[in-house]
């Protein structure tokens, strides 16, 4: 018994010593550092793609321990007639507890300016500016773009509770959970980037005016290209295809779709400050309620825009 114990223990200690010796030899062999006089710094050094594309979000989540404050405004403008403008403003704090995860909490404001809009039923004329929702966001980096993988991939969940409807400014109790799969790749290293998102968002809306509860969902596919013309400045183009559903939160009853195209801009103001702008113009759409139209201005607006400012610390 003791003999067996001795041999097995010896085997363990022996393996440890062998591995130590092998490790030391490998280290001695491989850990040569060189001054490398030929090394030339690249002005286009690596950047994070999280804000690079505009509406499409890149797979990067920042580095472990990084904190960020961000301001983001997403707006929708123009319906078939009248005046229509709505915007969602996020003020968010984000933190990366490790190299794979990112958490964010946000307080949101809503602005609406709606007058004489038929959709095809009339909207209430409304002007509103105020707090409207709170949300959180959790990102998990599945694949880190680099030598390990040519593609970056991140899964995102963003639950939101709202008391003002961002579509018409009415009083509601709304629960929504946006889930996204964000992928990207570098077509030309550190210069030309390709990004794509798949977004599914179910939501339940309880109107405060006594109307019945609405169960809706949407599915969005995006694709974007962004090119760094200068180390701290990139321009890009984006396509978004959106589908809207009602009668349930599981993509139950298709009500219409829309395709947007538009430009995007990314500017690294300083090493820790970023600004991104994006615009989308509806070029094609279809609504079940207005089948003869070749734009869907019932479920969606004619134009969408996004502005985001981020400060890391």
């Amino acid at each position: 018994m003791m003999l067996k114990f001795f041999w097995l223990s010896s085997l363990g200690i022996g393996a440890a010593v062998a591995l130590l010796a092998a490790g030391a030899a490998a280290d001695a062999q491989n850990l040569k550092t060189t001054a490398n006089p030929n090394f030339v710094p690249n002005a286009f050094h690596e950047i994070g793609t999280d804000n690079l594309f505009g509406f499409t979000e890149g797979s990067d989540i920042g580095q472990p321990g990084e904190k960020e404050l961000e301001w983001e405004t997403e707006m929708s403008a123009r319906k078939r007639d009248g005046r229509y403008f709505t915007a969602e403003h996020h003020l968010a704090f984000g933190y990366n507890p490790n190299d794979r995860m990112h958490f964010e909490v946000a307080l949101g404001g809503i602005s609406t300016d709606i007058k004489n809009v038929m959709n095809p039923e009339p909207f209430d004329n409304k002007r509103f500016n105020g707090l409207g929702f709170v949300s959180t966001e959790f990102k998990y980096l599945i694949l880190n773009r680099g030598p390990e993988s040519p593609i970056g991939l991140t899964f995102v969940v963003e639950p939101e509770y709202a008391w003002i409807d961002d579509g018409d400014g009415s009083r509601v109790r709304k629960f929504a959970v946006e889930t996204r799969l964000q992928a990207d790749a570098e077509l030309i290293p550190n210069r030309l980037y390709l990004g794509s998102n798949i977004i599914y968002e179910p939501e339940v809306v309880h109107p405060k005016n006594g109307d019945p509860t609405e169960h809706e969902s949407s599915l969005t596919f995006t694709g974007a290209l962004s090119y760094r013309f200068f180390p701290k400045f990139a321009l890009g183009a984006e396509v978004q295809y959106m589908r809207a559903y009602d009668e349930g939160i599981g993509l139950n009853h298709f009500t219409g779709d829309a395709t947007y195209v538009g430009p995007s801009l990314w500017w690294q103001i300083s090493p820790k400050m970023f600004l991104s702008l994006a615009w989308g113009h509806q070029v094609r759409g279809h609504s079940r309620e207005t089948p003869s139209d070749n734009l869907n201005l019932v479920d969606f607006s004619r134009d969408i825009g996004k502005a985001k400012f981020e400060y890391e610390f």
Binding site: M1, S9, A16, V17, P41, N42, Q63, P147, E148, K272
Partner: protein, 109 residues
């Protein structure tokens, strides 16, 4: 008998894991006159790496790498130790985020 077996297996496991963890590769880099020295680091692939970064300059630096998943401020005259998970073979760029022309590369082979 059974106790002895289990104990021996635990010793074996501990021994092997201790040996394996001791395989961690160590690297050192110094920031001096706003340059990494050396600017090229060679390391074995698929092994944990410990990088010691010393800042010999009188201003703070930030050692950052998106591909290495690292961002650490190095105070003036200070030293930080960065643990990097085992890497796939390839080139991993790094730079000083407070002075982005200061760059280097870690080559995992």
């Amino acid at each position: 008998m059974r106790f002895a077996k289990y104990t021996a297996v635990i010793f074996l496991a501990l021994g092997v894991s201790f040996g394996a963890s001791a395989q961690e590769a160590t690297l050192s880099v110094t920031i001096k006159n706003k340059h990494f020295s050396p600017s090229t680091l060679n390391a074995p692939a698929k092994k944990p790496i410990k990088i010691t970064v010393h800042n010999a300059d009188p201003v703070a630096a930030e050692f950052e790498s998106r591909t290495l998943r690292v961002e650490k401020v190095v105070p003036p005259g200070g030293t930080v130790v960065i643990n990097v998970k085992p890497l796939a073979p390839g080139n991993y760029g790094f730079f000083d985020d407070f002075n982005q022309s200061n760059q280097g590369v870690l080559i995992a082979k």
